[in-house]
Amino acid sequence: MRSAPKSPGPHPGRGRAVRGLGHFGALAAPGLTLYVLFVLVPVSMTCYLSLTNQNPFNPPTRYVGTANYTRLAHDPDFLHSLRNTAVITAVVTVAANLGGLLVALLLDRAGRLYRALRGVFFVPVILSAVVVSVIWQALLTDDGLINSMLRTLGVDHPPGWLSDPDLALWSLAWIITWQVLGFCVVVYLAALQGVPQELHEAAALDGADALQRFRHVTWPMIAPALTINTVMLLITGFKVYDQVQVITNGGPGEGTTSTVSFDIVHTAFTDDHIGYASAMATVMLVLVALASVAALRLLQRREVTL
C-alpha cells in the first residue's frame, strides 16, 4: 500500500532554518551592530557630507551636489597630497616587502640568537607611530645624531633630512618602512616555515642551486604572504597621518610631505571645511578599496596558478 504523500504541513526543515537564522542573528548581532554603528554609519555620513558645504562655523549647510569633487580635481594642494601619498605607498610597499623578505630569509634559522633577533625586528611594530616619529625626528634634525655623526666624519654640510623639501618625503617613507618592516618579517617567516622541507630536498636532488630553489620552490610557496603584506602595506601607506603630523606638519614648504589623511584632518578641523574634507575622505576610501581589490585579485591569481 502506497502511503499518501506527506503534506507540506508545518515544514520542520524551514523551522530549523529559521531557528538557525535566529541563532546566527543572535550571535552576529553584537558584531553587526558595532560594525553598523562605527563603520557603516560614519562612512554613510561622510559620503552624505561630501555632497554638502558643511562648515560648523558658517551655517547653514547646503547641498552642493558634486561641487566638492569637481573642486578636488583642480585643487593643487589635494593633488600634491595625492602624489605624496602615492609615493609613500609605493616606496613603503616595495621596500618593506623586499626588506622584510630579505630579513626573514636571514632569520629563518634555528637558535636563540635568531629568535632574539626576530623580537628585535618586531619591536618598532608595537611602538606607537608618534613614539617612532619623535625618535626619528630627534635622529634626523639638523642637530640630531645622524648629522652630528656625519659632521664628526668630516661632512661639512650634511643633508637636511627633514628641512630639505627634496629629501623630507623620502625621509618619511624610510621611517614608515622601518616601522612596518617587522610586520613583513613575521609574515614572511611564518610562510617560510610552512614550506615543506621535502620540496627543498627534492629540488636539491634534481640539482637546483640555492637561487633556483628560492625561485622555483620558496617564492611560489610564500605567495600568500606576499598578498597579505602587499595589501596591508597599501592600506598603511594610504592612511599615513601620524608621522606627517609629528615630524613635518606637511612641510617643509607647500605640499612637500602632506598626505591625503593629513589634508583631511586639517581641512576639517583647521580650515573648518567639513564637507570638502568629507569629499577627500570619500575619494581616499574609493582609492584604497580599488588598490586593495586590484592587489588582491592580481596576487591571488598568482596563488591559484601554483
Partner: protein
C-alpha cells in the same frame, strides 16, 4: 526564541549605551555630585607652561569659586584652537578655554561674550572685537616678535650695540656671518611650523602695519591683496635675508623647543621670538648675556608688533555659563596666577593696577621697557597672523603661511610667489 529576543534586546541596550557615551560627557549640571558643577578647561603645554603650572593655577582659582570642579584637558599640540574645533565637532567643546582664537566660534554663537562690566579692569577692553563684542579676556600683551641676541657674539663680530635701522641689522648680520656666526636662529620643524613666521611678522609690522594699521582689514574687505607692493616688499626683506645665508634653512627641521635650545647652544646670534622667551632666559640663563631689541624699521622709528589677549573664553553651552565666567575671571585675575604667568611666560599683564614681581630678571625687565617705549611712541602694531577678531586671517591660512615661509627660506618661492600663494589660500579658505 526567547533567548534570541533577549540577546537582541541586550545588544540594542548595549548599542544605545555606547551611542550615549559618544555624545556629551565631561561636564555635569548643577546639582550633580553634591551640588558641584564640573567644568572642562582646555589648556596647552609648552616648556614654559608645564602641567604643574596649570594644576597650581587651577587650584588657586577653584579655591576662590566654591562649587566648581575643573576637569583639565590638554591640547595635544600648542595648536589648542584646532583641538577645540575637533572637540566641538564631536559635541564636546570645552566649557572654558585659554588662548583659543575666538574666530568662528564667536560668529557661530558658541562663545559667551564678556560684558563691559566684566572687562572694566582690563587695560585694552576692546582688544579683538568680533561684531563689537569681546570673547577672550585680554589679560596680557605679548610683543611678537622682539629680537633676543647673544651679546658675546655681537662683541666677537665687533658690533657695539643693537641696530636701530634695518640697514644696520643687515650690516650686523653680514658682520656676524663674516665671523662664522650664524646671524639668525629661526625654527619651524616638526609640528611647530609656526615658529618660522617671526621674521615675516616683524617685517609686516614695520613695513606694512606701521603705516597702514588697517591693512589686513582692507585685505579682508577685498580692497587690496597680498600682491600689494607694500606687502611684497616686506616679504622680499625676509627672502633677501635667507638668500644671503643669514637665516639657516637647517633650522626648519627644529621644533620650537629645539629652536630655543639652538639659540642657547650658540647656534646663532639673533633669535626673533615672542616676549615669552624673556622669562625662559631669566629662569635658566644661557652661558652668554642676552639682550633684546625691536626689529628695526628703515627709518629707525620704534615699532613693536604685539598681541593683547591670550586669556580665557567661555562656551555659551557650558552647564552654568555665569559660574564658568566667574571661575574664568577668578583664574585670570588672581594675583598669584598672574605672577606665575609672568614668571613662566614673560607675560606683560594688561590688567589695571597689576605690578609684576620685583624679582623678575633683567631680560624680562628689558623686554617690558622696550614695550613701554613703543607704547609711549605710539609704535605698537598688530602681529601679522597672530591677530584675531574682525578682519583677521581666515581659518587655516595661518598654517599655510607658515608652510609658504619654509619655501621662502628654502629659496623655493620668491616674494611675489609667496604673495600669490597667500591670496590663493585666502580664496580657498573663504570659498
Amino acid at each position: 526564541m526567547r533567548k534570541i529576543a533577549l540577546h537582541g534586546a541586550l545588544t540594542l541596550v548595549a548599542a544605545a549605551v555606547l551611542a550615549g557615551c559618544a555624545v556629551g560627557g565631561g561636564a555635569t549640571g548643577p546639582g550633580a555630585a553634591g551640588g558641584r558643577t564640573t567644568l572642562t578647561f582646555l589648556t596647552f603645554e609648552t616648556p614654559n607652561l608645564n602641567a604643574s603650572y596649570w594644576d597650581a593655577a587651577i587650584a588657586r582659582a577653584s579655591a576662590k569659586v566654591p562649587g566648581v570642579t575643573i576637569k583639565k584637558l590638554v591640547a595635544p599640540t600648542v595648536d589648542r584652537t584646532a583641538y577645540a574645533k575637533q572637540l566641538d565637532a564631536s559635541g564636546q567643546l570645552p566649557d572654558i578655554m585659554i588662548a583659543v582664537k575666538p574666530d568662528g566660534f564667536a560668529q557661530a554663537g558658541k562663545l559667551a561674550p564678556w560684558t563691559a562690566d566684566e572687562l572694566a579692569d582690563y587695560v585694552v577692553p576692546k582688544a579683538n572685537p568680533i561684531a563689537g563684542k569681546e570673547y577672550v579676556l585680554p589679560y596680557n600683551t605679548q610683543p611678537t616678535p622682539l629680537v633676543y641676541y647673544n651679546k658675546a657674539d655681537f662683541a666677537r663680530a665687533g658690533i657695539s650695540g643693537p641696530p636701530s635701522t634695518y640697514a644696520q641689522l643687515v650690516d650686523d648680520a653680514k658682520a656676524l656671518k663674516a665671523k662664522g656666526i650664524n646671524p639668525f636662529v629661526v625654527g619651524g620643524g616638526g609640528q611647530d611650523t609656526w615658529a618660522d613666521m617671526y621674521p615675516l611678522i616683524a617685517d609686516v609690522g614695520t613695513d606694512v602695519y606701521a603705516g597702514h594699521p588697517s591693512w589686513l582689514a582692507d585685505r579682508s574687505a577685498g580692497r587690496t591683496t597680498f600682491a600689494d607692493p607694500l606687502f611684497v616688499g616686506a616679504v622680499r626683506k625676509v627672502s633677501a635675508l635667507a638668500a644671503a645665508g643669514y637665516i639657516d634653512p637647517a633650522g626648519l627641521s627644529r621644533s620650537y623647543a629645539d629652536t630655543e635650545q639652538a639659540f642657547r647652544d650658540d647656534k646663532g646670534a639673533m633669535y626673533p621670538m615672542g616676549s615669552w622667551f624673556a622669562a625662559s632666559a631669566d629662569a635658566k640663563p644661557p652661558a652668554f648675556g642676552v639682550g633684546v631689541f625691536a626689529w628695526p624699521t628703515d627709518s629707525g622709528k620704534l615699532v613693536v608688533p604685539a598681541y593683547t589677549g591670550g586669556g580665557l573664553s567661555v562656551s555659551s553651552k557650558a552647564p552654568d555659563v555665569a559660574l564658568a565666567k566667574k571661575w574664568a575671571a577668578a583664574f585670570m585675575e588672581d594675583k598669584e596666577n598672574l605672577d606665575a604667568s609672568v614668571k613662566a611666560d614673560g607675560s606683560i599683564i594688561a590688567i589695571k593696577g597689576y605690578t609684576p614681581p620685583s624679582t623678575m630678571g633683567p631680560v624680562y625687565r628689558a623686554t617690558v621697557d622696550l614695550y613701554q617705549q613703543a607704547v609711549q611712541r605710539n609704535g605698537i602694531v598688530n602681529a601679522f597672523t597672530v591677530e584675531s577678531g574682525d578682519g583677521s586671517l581666515p581659518p587655516g591660512v595661518v598654517d599655510k603661511a607658515a608652510l609658504g615661509m619654509q619655501d621662502l627660506i628654502n629659496g623655493k618661492q620668491t616674494a611675489e610667489q609667496f604673495a600669490a600663494f597667500l591670496d590663493r589660500q585666502w580664496t580657498q579658505a573663504t570659498q
